[in-house]
């Protein structure tokens, strides 16, 4: 019997397609309507909701909780005050990424960590003699992402606290009688919030959000729209951009935070005395400039794209669904210098874009590279240039009221 999230009874009524995929063993809508692009537009232009409940959630409490997390997570949790959250990763001792998640600090000694894949056993074994309690609360809470330029106006009708929330802050609030955590987080690269609510009250909260969103263009969006959004936002995805280092066979499948484009997480690490798993290896990678890849944005030369296709007798395709496979990248001489891990036509940027991993010496902004595309069953190379991630980065994402 397939498992469903607490929002499912209502969201499934709104899913006119009956199309679902599995996300960590739970049904997750692929799309709600036969116009996934319209779901994407809801997030970029008005407001969309996404059921992100299947993410694993761990409650981490105790006198030593901060010390514990500081020793595990790549980002320094000690700089995260109560009421704030951090997007973070954790690595193995060779400095390769194991998993990513967001850690919410509720109090000095009270944290909630999300994880893309199960991690409780692993984390547990790292506790040692510290005073830390850890519990898997995945099933206890449902999480609803409310994303897009109108998300603030919609939620403010229910919980005025949302107005004051800064990027990656969170607060407790009430929606109707239900206690919730409101956080300014999400996976769309836009203005947006997530509501964490006890599972039993999930439907009531969802209904309240849907009511408040009426007239603001609210609609649920599925995984297809999410993939478009996250690619434009340059956000890495487990089992696409990285694999759990503990579960793969070769270093080709492994990646470091720096290689994944998360170098910003490592700022100050040279002078910092905080030990955490993988720190020595990461520091060595930085000082020796040993990174194998740089993760950057890719913008395809539209004229070249159009010409290649028109010369082949085709209408230049502009498909907003990201490719589900890698495309190779070459330098001017035809040597392979990297690959595009995600590639799509961005409706909001009106360009073909990608997230690419390149040899670091080829990854400077504006560097020209050549992307392999297939036309009439033959490889062709289209010009592209490197750009900084995220490719779509509206001011509203981080702006305060």
């Amino acid at each position: 019997m397939v498992s469903t999230t607490p929002f499912h009874p209502r969201l499934s009524q709104l899913n006119t397609t009956g199309l679902y995929t599995h996300w960590q063993g739970q049904l997750s809508a692929l799309r709600y309507s036969h116009a996934p692009k319209h779901e994407y537009f809801a997030v970029r232009n008005s407001v969309g909701i996404f059921d992100t409940s299947p993410l694993h959630k761990y409650r981490i409490r105790g006198r030593d909780a901060e010390r514990f997390l500081a020793g595990v997570l790549v980002r320094d949790i000690r700089t995260c005050r109560p009421g704030r959250a951090q997007y973070t990763m954790w690595c193995d001792d060779r400095g390769f990424v194991c998993d990513d998640g967001v850690v919410f600090r509720h109090a000095e000694t009270d944290f909630l960590l999300t994880a893309a894949r199960p991690n409780l056993g692993y984390l547990h074994r790292l506790v040692g003699r510290l005073d830390v309690e850890m519990a898997d609360v995945t099933e206890d809470y449902a999480v609803l992402a409310v994303q897009g330029p109108n998300s603030r106006a919609v939620l403010a009708q229910l919980a005025p606290e949302v107005q004051a929330l800064r990027y990656f802050e969170h607060t407790s609030a009430k929606i109707g009688p239900a206690p919730v955590t409101l956080s300014r987080t999400g996976f769309t690269g836009d203005l947006g919030y997530e509501i964490t609510v006890e599972s039993g009250q999930a439907i009531d909260v969802l209904d309240a959000v849907l009511d408040a969103g009426e007239g603001h263009g609210i609609r649920p969006f599925g995984e297809e729209a999410l993939m478009m959004l996250r690619t434009e936002a340059g956000l890495p995805l487990v089992d696409v951009d990285f694999y759990d280092s503990r579960l793969v066979h070769t270093d080709h499948e492994r990646i470091t935070p720096k290689e994944l484009g998360m170098g910003w997480m490592l700022r100050g690490i040279e002078d910092d005395t905080r030990p955490f798993i993988g720190r020595t290896a990461i520091r060595r990678e930085l000082t020796e400039e040993a990174s194998r890849w740089a993760t950057v944005g890719l913008i395809v030369d539209w004229q070249h794209w159009d010409r290649l296709h028109r010369d082949a007798g085709l209408i230049p395709p502009k498909d907003e669904q990201p490719l589900s496979y890698e495309s190779m990248l070459y330098d001017g001489e035809g040597g392979q210098v990297g690959y595009a891990a995600a590639f799509m036509y961005s409706p909001v940027l009106q360009r073909h874009i990608g997230m690419a991993r390149l040899r670091p010496d080829m990854a400077a902004p504006d560097q020209e590279v050549h992307l392999e595309v297939w036309i009439h069953h033959k490889p062709e190379r289209v010009r592209a240039r490197i750009a900084r991630l995220p490719l779509f980065n509206p001011e509203r994402k981080t702006a305060n009221v």
């Binding site: 309507s33 116009a35 109108n150 009426e214 159009d306 230049p316 395709p317 502009k318 907003e320 009106q350």
Partner: protein, 529 residues
Amino acid sequence: MNSTNQYDAIVVGGGHNGLVNGAYLAKAGLRTLILERRHVVGGAAITEELTPGFQFTTFSYALSLLRPEIIHELDLVTHGFFPLMMPSSFHPTEDGDYLLLGEDHGLNLREIKRHSPRDADSYDRYHHDLDRVAQAVRPLFDNPPPNIFGKDPEDHADVAWLLNHLGSIEQKVMHDSVRLLTGSASDWLDDYFENETVKGFHASSSIIGSKVGPMSQGSGLVLLFHKMGEHDGHLGSWAFHKQGNGGFTQVLARAAESLGAEIRLESAVTSVVSREGRVTGVALADGTEFTAPVVVSALDPRRTFLELVEPRELPADLVENVERFRFHGVSAKVNFALDGLPVFPALKDRIDQYGGFINIGPTVEYVERAFDAAKYGWYSERPFIDAAIQSVVDPDMAPPGQHVMSCFVQYAPYHLKRSDWDTEREAFGDRAQAVLESHFPGFGDLVLHREVVTPLDIESATGLSEGNIFAGELLAPQMYFFRPAPGWSQYRTPIDGYYQCGSGTHPGGCVMGSPAKLPSQRILKDLAR
């Protein structure tokens, strides 16, 4: 004269084409001035808050034909270009049923099958054939027409290019092209479909802005024209720009200004000044003069040749051709502020049918009968309506829970035989509303505000002669080599330095930008000589 009134180029008219033309000239380094008569740029592509909180697209209301290269070359995304693709097309029939097409191809085929099993596969064949014609015609859209009467080597090269291109078109595609360019939409549709609803749905784009019915020869060209857009890689797809088409022209204005063009509002040009056959500048109604060696008119051909300059100074055959250039506006708008969404009884509690165009012209015959009235100088008893509730896709267009509905209504001939438009305005609005009421019972109760825009209003507000939305009809005798007049299709005029751009020039109307970009190339080439 004050040196600040000197420019390298002056564009008369700040509609979308004037802005695009000015932007390209500025991009090439010319000190460019764009003069707009009204208090706002955009011409017929404006968005106005007619009643608080409700954004009306008074005239032009959707985007499709805008050439993709213009988006990139003018860096429009940086300035806020944001087309919201329409997810559906909705076609109510007269018996309460409907045809609802969306993004899912398989579902669309099922929906057509519901009306006619045989038309389901015809639907693919129809679009494939039409796409092939659009592809064959596209190079003609993207290049100026060769001067077939010209004698210099460049003209010969252009003609050779054209012949070479025509020679590369497959026999079937060429025949289809000619059938579309000269024939009727109705004949074309009969080749594919048996079902009246399916035919009616496809016929609607064959009459937009034109004094033709779907059974008239010439309506095929209008149908093809509306297939030439390629938003996001889909031929014939449509979008609402964020904040309506006025939102789009604001983007163009920002792009033009950032490229260095200067825009001056409330600056009506009364005449283009020339000396000994060479343009020297323009004069405004208030007496202000601006000088420039290049002046571009973005107005329609009648104004470009018969109003801004003295027809006496032009060749007689050009004047005659422009005088008989057909405008014959037949389109009106009836725009509504609504207190809620209309209810379509067969799709109660659903809103997905309102994501794109709502096409009220159930059958070819319905539309043809609507056209009949126009032939005899009167407006339709039961008009054709192309409606769009833009606030469904862009909720910022209206207060939460309320909506704006733009209705493009035909036929409303500019010349009424027994009355005038100021007298008939509300009666005409009532007829349009009655049609809506018959499809959406209770519609009238939702109406908070109604704006009726007659062809006369279109003319007086935007300057489009006779209210023709394409600045001249899209009919074969006034297309390509002949737009706007034989011998003058390459954007020059008989006055040196005086150029034409805009929808009255090749390739024609709609928010396309080509008849602004191509003229800018002509101008820059001439300047380089």
